[in-house]
């Protein structure tokens, strides 16, 4: 029920490398209604000093949620995904995500606790590039709602 608080401090390193493609950035930009050429035109991106097209500011969620899946599906965590509600999200970009990046992500459980029967989990995903340099940090807080009392 809720979450097993014992998973606090656990680290998950099994996420495969994510290769950022121009067409994926375009698809995401179109989906959020952005017509900014920095997402679709490499020349426009270079004019602003970026090496290639730039991902929108919340694109890292695509990588982070795949990585967090390891926590949500960990049998030790005991999380019922259907009762999960996204409470908070924060991104810190150490540099913009651009097409051509090969990104590694590691999930850290910074906090896991029970509060009045609800589970509360804070997960931090650290995203790094092929050189091992930091690219983005994505922190999410989710609530796993308690079962209704019969």
């Amino acid at each position: 029920m809720g979450v097993n608080p014992q998973i606090a401090g656990k680290t998950y390193t099994g996420a495969p490398v994510y290769e950022v493609g121009r067409e994926k950035i375009r698809e995401f930009a179109v989906a959020i209604g952005s017509s900014d050429p920095v997402h679709t035109d490499p020349e426009a991106a270079r004019a602003l000093g970026h090496p290639d097209v730039v991902a929108p500011p919340t694109f890292a969620i695509v990588i982070a949620q795949r990585c967090e899946g390891q926590v949500m599906q960990d049998p030790e965590a005991g999380i019922d995904y259907s009762r999960l509600v996204h409470g908070e999200q924060k991104f810190t970009h150490h540099r913009p995500i651009v097409a051509g990046d090969r990104l590694t992500s590691v999930a850290h459980v910074d906090d896991a606790r029970l509060m009045a029967g609800n589970g509360r989990v804070v997960t931090r995903v650290e995203i790094t590039d092929a050189a091992g340099e930091p690219v983005a940090t994505a922190i999410s807080m989710v609530i796993i709602r308690a079962e209704e009392q019969a």
């Binding site: 995401f28 959020i32 209604g33 602003l48 991902a55 919340t58 969620i61 695509v62 908070e88």
Partner: protein, 141 residues
């Protein structure tokens, strides 16, 4: 549009913008983001878990806020930090009109040395605040 650091002061307000969200937008976002949680496209399942109906992905609302602040800055690559709290769901009716989100923002801090501005965003669905503690730190030219 492109904001310049030297022309930005604490208290400045960003022009408010209305963004329409339809069921088709949610399907497109589900595909682009890989978040296929059924409550964002299936009315039957959404109501069975106690929701008023299909609701927008919180991350979709957050993404629209990110687009809003990026448009003000003029460079989506200049959003250094962006965080939100999801305070209320956004129900999206199954019609042509969908839901309307109203975004606004205010400059709440500037940092001369880093040439950054902190923008506190607001996002309303009707009268309801759907994002809380929505704060972006952007680098300005």
């Amino acid at each position: 549009m492109s904001a310049q650091f030297d022309q930005v002061s604490v208290g400045d307000e960003l022009p408010t913008t209305d963004i329409t969200v339809t069921r088709a937008d949610l399907i497109r976002y589900a595909g682009a983001s890989g978040d296929f949680n059924v409550i964002h496209w299936n009315e039957r399942v959404a109501t069975s878990v106690g929701l008023p109906g299909v609701i927008a992905h919180g991350m979709y609302t957050m993404a629209l806020g990110g687009r809003y602040v990026s448009e003000w800055v003029g460079d989506a690559g200049a959003v250094l930090e962006y965080g939100v709290r999801f305070t209320n769901p956004v129900p999206v009716p199954d019609d042509e009109t969908g839901a309307t989100l109203t975004f606004g923002g205010k400059v709440t801090k500037t940092d001369q040395e880093a040439r950054t501005a902190t923008v506190t965003l607001t996002a309303l669905s009707g009268e309801q605040k759907v994002l809380g503690k929505a704060i972006a730190v952007v680098r300005l030219p």
